[in-house]
Symmetry: C2
Subunit: 472 residues, 2 copies
């Protein structure tokens, strides 16, 4: 457990009454530290005779740990914990986004301009020339974050209501990182057909659809059918966002050890939605030598237990027709990419890889193998975690991706677009900046969104998939 | 034409270069006035040698009239019109609403709290206790403005894209008047089945659904089936919003002539969605004597050309079994309610009504009969227009209605709720304020939304249709 650091995602605020005697605060902070809590903030909120009231915000590793920390604080002599609030729940109360008016409506004239009769003229203009919808409505900047709630984070099929906080969060990130007006659409849909029907139906309101947290294999069918049916981009972020950031980081990891992407021999573990998308994009980008593994070992054409998705993987990968278990696949590989589960990789397997080896252990929050346990042949490590270098985070991609798509008024997004985005993201890291601990920029690096957006817009325009190609 | 006043909905801004000689500006404003334009604003935007550049904003009656005004300005000696911008289109550019972040995301800790891993805890909590969705997401304040674009304003079946400006406008009004987070959902749906399927699917994201601009008779079926299927309120504003404001205004019109609602003998013309809803609500409120008419005359059980909806009207109205044309229906009626089309009523028919007569000529923008043409037996006139007293405007109802429904976390809305809203709206007009020219408050009267919201919340709670009944 000590390998996992406390996270702001588990922050609680303890309201503590401390007796005004020397050493009380020190005992409290020591107790919290000994319990493994990270002190985040310490604030005096009041006084009473002989008593100081403080709000003590502490990060924990998980909910059980948070309770242990609170218990440790309660046990400190001279301290009474009079309240515990969960910062996260307070922050999420009433939702994380809202709708804003762009126009004030204070008078009858305002009403006549913003609503009838004025609005009728705008509607009539769009009825006469459908393309005007992009100029005179929110559509040009609006994205639907569409889910059926069947594969929400690591929580599984928790349904559309419980998925709403996540989809709202996604909409929040769209706004914060790329000024995109995204709205969560969490739907009751008991089949791919129903989800496709909803996606098709709501499309006229949006300039793009971000599919999110839809279980495999439904996600593949839904995305394929919506892409086919619609003339706006449809992007399943769990697949393609991951693939883009993995390709970008891998490009730079290869660069940092003096190799090119095409030269790499890659073993991948985990052939869910993200894994399959990585195979496709890396293949598209010219990586010829990929071996995919699932929990039964190497995926090869001789296996008779493969579904359609994995059979397609078998046909695109493993050109050496290797068979055997996952450990076997690691032998002599340059790169391991894990998109599977916690602690699924034995460090000895990694030791059998080439030297220098690149390890992307992306299971989250607990990686396939903890970085501390990796053998010395490993030159570059990336994880999904923010407390290690080289965090592989989809938020690096989807804001810039959709910014570019919307700016182009794109009709589609495809593997070429993804590749352009990945290359733009990789290129942000200059030769001077590049190191084994810095193969991918921070999501808060202000170069990221504009660079990806420009590359995406340019690719889409060049490919004839832009409605708007006449503006720089 | 001179009966129709210029409207802010047809405002253009003429950029004019005026020679700096006495009288030039006077000639320009006179020409605009003579052309029937209403000068809205006059602003100096620049100077050049011997030239003053002014932006002249002018309201017109319609687009043709706007062009006439521009031509009149161009004809003025010493004036050059160098540009014409349409204020409405400028205002609607890029849409009238946007999404706002309630939380800043500037650091990795922010990300951990607003998104993963923090958000996963909120989702898990909702998965464990579904009611928490109302506390920790936007759902408690979110309304879908759902349309298929089949009956948009007076424009007809212009489709979902062209409907978007109107639905955005509605969302804007929800925000401006009642701080509700409404989002337009304009859908491709070629049948009632498809529209019902979309409404059912998207419900988990929203605390209520406002149906809008859906053609009759599809609107009846869609609303009935969605009400049946969902545990959030579904409200077709074109029907019920209209019915509520009509009932409120009629209550006060009756009050102003010393009568009660129940005593009135009413003739209605126009049995579309709004007309039928008015019949239902007035019936529910105890008005026993209603005669409905369509373009073929009085609706009675003996007619064999009635669809299901009008047959239901026949069964609820016309207790005297009257037959004949619409003129016949007017004879001795106390009230005329028109929800039909322009100039469909002959003033002579109105003269045959009782004295005092109440006339609600609600066709918009051109009423069934212009107020100036009404005979002297008419005591109270209401229209849908803002340039006459007693404007019957749905914006008086839907913001407060949904505010109350959301505050109660209501599971449904029904005729009792509508009646409560109508009574609350009528009650706002005090005895001191009440007059034949003031039977309904302005949409900008700050008493309106809170009064309706309180009444709705109270009714819903009393009827056991509130999830949240423990908060004052």
């Amino acid at each position: 457990m000590s390998e996992i650091s406390p996270s702001a995602g588990y922050t609680q605020t303890l309201r503590c009454e401390l007796q005004q005697q020397p050493g009380t605060l020190g005992r409290l902070t020591s107790a919290i530290g000994e319990a493994g809590g990270d002190l985040e903030a310490l604030e005096i909120v009041g006084h009473r005779k002989g008593i100081v009231i403080r709000d003590v915000s502490v990060m924990a590793r998980d909910e059980a740990h948070a309770r242990q920390i609170a218990a440790a604080a309660r046990a400190v002599a001279g301290v009474e914990v009079v309240g515990v609030t969960d910062r996260i729940f307070e922050q999420h109360r009433n939702g994380k986004i809202s709708v804003r008016s762009n126009i004030r409506v204070r008078t009858r004239d305002d009403l006549a301009m913003a609503y009838t009769p004025g609005v009728g003229r705008v509607s009539q203009a769009i009825a006469d020339d459908a393309e005007l919808v992009w100029d005179y409505t929110i559509r040009g900047n609006a994205v639907a974050v569409l889910t059926d709630g069947t594969a929400v984070l690591g929580l599984g099929d928790i349904g559309p209501e419980a998925a709403l906080p996540v989809m709202e969060g996604k909409a929040l990130l769209f706004k914060e990182f790329a000024d995109i007006d995204a709205f969560p659409i969490c739907v009751n849909a008991s089949s791919a057909d129903e989800l496709v029907a909803v996606g098709r139906a709501i499309a006229p309101t949006f300039g793009g659809i971000n599919l999110e947290d839809i279980a495999s294999p439904r996600c593949f069918e839904v995305e394929d059918r919506l892409k086919e049916a619609l003339d706006i981009p449809v992007f399943h972020d769990d697949q393609h966002g991951t693939a883009v950031v993995v390709m970008a980081a891998l490009t730079n990891a290869a660069r940092s050890v003096g190799k090119s992407l095409e030269q790499l021999r890659i073993v991948m573990l985990g052939m869910g939605a993200a894994g399959v998308a990585c195979v496709e994009l890396l293949n598209h980008a010219g990586v010829a030598d990929i071996i995919g593994c699932d929990r039964r070992g190497i995926i090869h054409r001789g296996r008779d237990d493969l579904d359609d998705v994995k059979r397609a993987v078998a046909n695109k990968t493993n050109r050496g027709h290797r068979t055997g278990d996952t450990a076997e696949a690691f032998r002599d590989a340059d790169v391991f990419i894990g998109l599977s589960g916690p602690n699924t990789v034995d460090p000895d397997w990694v030791a059998a890889m080439g030297d220098p080896a690149i390890v992307f252990a992306l299971a989250n929050p607990v990686p396939e193998v903890m970085p501390e346990r990796l053998p010395p042949n490993v030159a570059v490590v990336a994880t999904g975690r923010s407390d290690y270098p080289n965090q592989i985070n989809n938020v690096l991609v989807f804001p810039g991706m959709f910014r570019g798509l919307l700016d182009a008024r794109a009709t589609r997004v495809d593997l070429d677009t993804e590749r352009a985005a990945a290359e733009a993201l990789a290129d942000i890291v200059t030769d001077d900046e590049l190191s084994s601990d810095y193969v991918i920029p921070s999501p808060f690096d202000e170069r990221v969104v504009p660079a990806i957006a420009r590359a995406v817009r340019s690719q889409v325009t060049g490919a004839g998939a832009a409605r708007k190609d006449n503006i720089a």
